[in-house]
């Protein structure tokens, strides 16, 4: 059974519809640590040593956040800048994360069709996540295809619940090694 760390970043969860449900659905899951960055570091003063030890205790590292301007909220960038130190996460002696698995769980306002070569945003979500993919590669981690909740602006409460259930299912499979990794 693999251990999963979810690095969750939402600057205004109190107003969130999607992530509030996603988080509720997975809370208390065995083998899953939900790490709410904005709640723990409201001043963005990240405890690097603590974050690194958390990473070492887990096998699968997932970033969960809304998709803001084709990327993550500022907290995730701050976290990467500080925690993924040279000589620890990458570089000649940086092997701490070697062999672990990384991935992203994002929600977008637009429909899936908009994230297409001919669509509104002209690129699939996967393309926009290139910095995450390459960051994982540099740290010798494998990067999974993202779990995306599309079209949040038009999702009903019921539809969001369904997305939350499939999120939970995905995590269970990942945890129990049943998900086929590319």
């Amino acid at each position: 059974m693999a251990k999963i760390l979810i690095l969750f970043a939402h600057p205004a969860l109190e107003k969130s519809r999607v992530h509030a449900q996603l988080v509720r659905a997975i809370r208390g899951m065995q083998g899953v640590t939900l790490h709410d960055l904005y709640e723990i570091y409201p001043d963005l003063n990240i405890d690097v040593r603590h974050e690194q030890s958390l990473l070492l205790q887990h096998d699968i590292i997932l970033f969960q956040h809304p998709f803001y301007w084709y990327s993550a909220p500022a907290m995730i960038k701050q976290w990467m800048d500080l925690v993924l130190e040279h000589g620890w996460a990458y570089g000649r002696t940086g092997n701490a994360l070697r062999g672990k698995i990384a991935g992203s769980i994002v929600s977008t306002g637009s429909q899936e069709a908009a994230y297409h070569k001919e669509g509104w945003h002209r690129h699939p979500v996967n393309d926009f996540l290139l910095p995450f993919r390459q960051t994982a590669a540099l740290c010798n981690m494998q990067y999974l295809d993202p779990f995306v909740v599309y079209g949040t602006h038009k999702l009903s409460h019921q539809e969001i619940s369904e997305a939350a259930i499939s999120y939970r299912q995905m995590l269970e499979n990942l945890r129990d090694g049943q998900l086929k990794l590319q």
Binding site: P11, Y38, E39, P42, H153, K154
Partner: protein, 624 residues
């Protein structure tokens, strides 16, 4: 001419007030100004003061004692120990060699051996008052030359003790046992008892300084009567002088020792600034007395003899010093300053000369001539130093003290001064300290100073609203002052003093409440910290969190609230003297705040969070 006490005081004070600004303006330094003032009011020129000059000089010599006390208090004992080589080596050799040369020359000029030896010893001494005051004014005390000069002067003060013992012997058996100084307890005692007495006196000063003076200072400080502290400081110096005179030691030396014992005391800055003005006035008086005592009638009657003697004497002393300076590896430029500074004869010569006359070691005429020579050499010293500063130093292309020796820092010079080390100031101080910033701390609560001192924290007792105290705490060189006094009145005082005397200092000021804040704003203070604001808001944020608000949101709300609050305060400050408008505006603000607070949509109050609000996007998406 008989004058009243007050008339004489008026003449001296007026002369100082008139001449010193002129001398400073001309770049001559205050020592020269005082000497000139003395010459002008003296019997030779205007005759406002007569022959009492000598008596005044005796009295004013106490200024030298105070100066040595102040120098001692600024000197760490460890620093003195480091100086033992120049004191004994440089100082010892200077006194011995100069005495030998002058004695030899006097014999060549036909003086008998005892008279020659008396002259040699008398003339080997230099003037502590003139040298140290002049060097201090030029900022040269911590240079190689300044430190060497200080070492030599210190040794000369020690050398006076054996000289006083030798002088009665020179007078011969028939003239009896009168000593050059006033009667002391030491007279008529065997040598071992005398030695024991001297050692005992030194021990008394050290032990009393350590274990008696500090607790007494604490008691006096606790009484919170400012002049009482001044009185005690004076009492301290006077007592040391009395004790020293009693056992026949130099009072200046004793005061220096007393100063060193108190150098690490938390009351150091306060003592310094209390004694300083007395020292300044007395030294000024002393210099004027020296100026007044130059007998120009005598000088004019035999100008070449006297001027020749002055020139020869100063040249001999200077050459001796130059050679010694070379041996002790002082750089050329500093060595010249060192030699020129110490080339005069010191004030103690007046005492010794009058003794030699009373005991017929020297003839009356010789003593008169030598007194004039000594006074002239003293008066010439500031001129020589001016010559060095204007002509010699520029040639060496370096205005800074030379690198032959690391300049010893006598005063602490920290970038930060904390005025008030109560609950508030001590947190700031601790925070700065863990960040490697040293601060000079001043506090007015003697119990607190005491307690902190026991914890090993250097806190100085003193009223930070005194500009002289701030100056001795290094305000001229500091960058920032943190003002966190216990009461508003004290805070406002300190702010005013800093603004007036140290306008370059950035002020960070603690305020207790809104009226204080207004007053500080009126004084132009830019950085004001209400002592309860941040803590209350942090508490509020925690309460919000306990009620389920996200930490990040709570933190942002605190920040927004504080900014709005401070902005509102600035707006209110401008109109607060208009009672009606003020009350109306306050009412409006309260209503506004209530409206904001009662609104359950935090975003309305906190407009910067719109970026995270999807509502408009959702609305737009649903219109499609």
């Amino acid at each position: 001419m008989e004058h009243s006490y007050f008339f004489i005081a008026m003449i001296y004070l007026a002369a100082a007030v008139i001449f010193i600004p002129i001398a400073r303006k001309l770049g001559l330094g205050s020592v020269l100004g005082y000497l000139l003032a003395g010459i002008v009011i003296g019997p030779s020129l205007m005759g406002f003061i007569g022959q009492e000059g000598q008596d005044i000089m005796h009295f004013a010599e106490f200024g030298v004692v105070m100066m040595l006390f102040l120098i001692g208090i600024e000197l760490e004992p460890a620093l003195l120990w480091n100086m033992r080589a120049p004191i004994l080596g440089l100082g010892g050799l200077q006194v011995l060699i100069t005495t030998a040369i002058v004695t030899g020359l006097a014999m060549l000029l036909g003086q008998p051996l005892n008279a020659s030896l008396a002259l040699g010893m008398t003339l080997s001494l230099s003037s502590t008052a003139i040298v140290l005051q002049s060097l201090k004014e030029k900022g040269q005390l911590s240079s190689a030359a300044g430190q060497s000069a200080f070492s030599v002067l210190l040794f000369q003060d020690i050398a006076v003790i054996p000289m006083l013992a030798i002088f009665p012997l020179l007078a011969g058996a028939d003239t009896g046992n009168t000593t050059p100084h006033e009667q002391t307890l030491r007279d008529n005692l065997p040598a071992w008892a005398q030695t024991l007495m001297v050692l005992g006196a030194v021990t008394v000063i050290v032990v009393a300084g350590r274990y008696l003076v500090r607790p007494l200072l604490r008691v006096v400080a606790r009484a919170r009567v400012r002049e009482l502290f001044t009185a005690f400081a004076l009492l301290l110096v006077v007592s040391i002088s009395v004790l020293m005179s009693l056992v026949g030691l130099s009072p200046a030396l004793g005061a220096f020792l007393g100063g060193i014992v108190l150098a690490n005391s938390e009351y150091r800055h306060e003592l310094e600034s209390d004694i300083e003005p007395f020292k300044g006035l007395l030294l000024g008086l002393f210099f004027m007395a020296v100026g007044a005592s130059i007998d120009f009638k005598l000088v004019l009657s035999m100008p070449w003899v006297i001027l020749g003697l002055v020139a020869a004497l100063m040249l001999i002393k200077a050459l001796t010093l130059i050679i010694l300076g070379k041996i002790f590896r002082i750089s050329i430029e500093q060595n010249l300053l060192f030699a020129m500074a110490l080339s005069q004869v010191g004030e103690f010569a007046f005492v010794l000369l009058s003794f030699t006359q009373q005991n017929n070691i020297l003839s009356q005429q010789t003593v008169s001539i030598m007194t004039a020579v000594v006074a002239l050499s003293m008066a010439l010293t500031p001129l020589l130093l001016l010559l060095h500063e204007r002509i010699i130093q520029p040639r060496f292309n370096k205005t800074a003290p030379d690198d032959t020796r690391e300049a010893d820092e006598i005063q602490e010079k920290h970038p930060v001064i904390i005025a008030g080390f109560g609950r508030f100031g001590n947190i700031v101080g601790r925070f700065l300290r863990v960040n490697g910033i040293q601060a000079t701390i001043l506090d007015l609560d003697s119990d607190r100073v005491d307690a902190l001192h026991n914890l090993g924290i250097k806190v100085y007792y003193g009223d930070a609203s005194r500009h002289d105290l701030l100056a001795s705490a290094g305000a001229a060189d500091a960058k920032v002052i943190i003002i966190a006094m216990d009461t508003v009145e004290q805070t406002l005082e300190v702010v005013k003093v800093v603004r007036k005397h140290f306008p370059h200092l950035q002020m960070l000021v603690k305020a207790e409440n809104i009226p204080d804040t207004y007053e500080l704003m009126d004084l132009g203070v830019l950085h004001i910290y209400r002592e309860t604001l941040d803590t209350s808001l942090r508490m509020g944020a925690d309460a919000l969190q306990m009620l389920g608000v996200r930490a990040y949101q709570a933190q942002r709300n605190v920040s927004t609230f504080r900014k709005q609050d401070e902005k509102a305060l600035k707006g209110l400050s401008a109109i607060r003297n208009d009672k009606k408008l003020y009350i109306n505006t306050v009412k409006e603000r309260i209503e506004e705040l209530e409206k904001l607070m009662s609104n359950d949509r935090v975003t309305r109050w906190n407009p910067t969070a719109q970026g995270w609000d999807e509502q408009s996007l959702i609305d737009e998406a649903n219109q499609d």
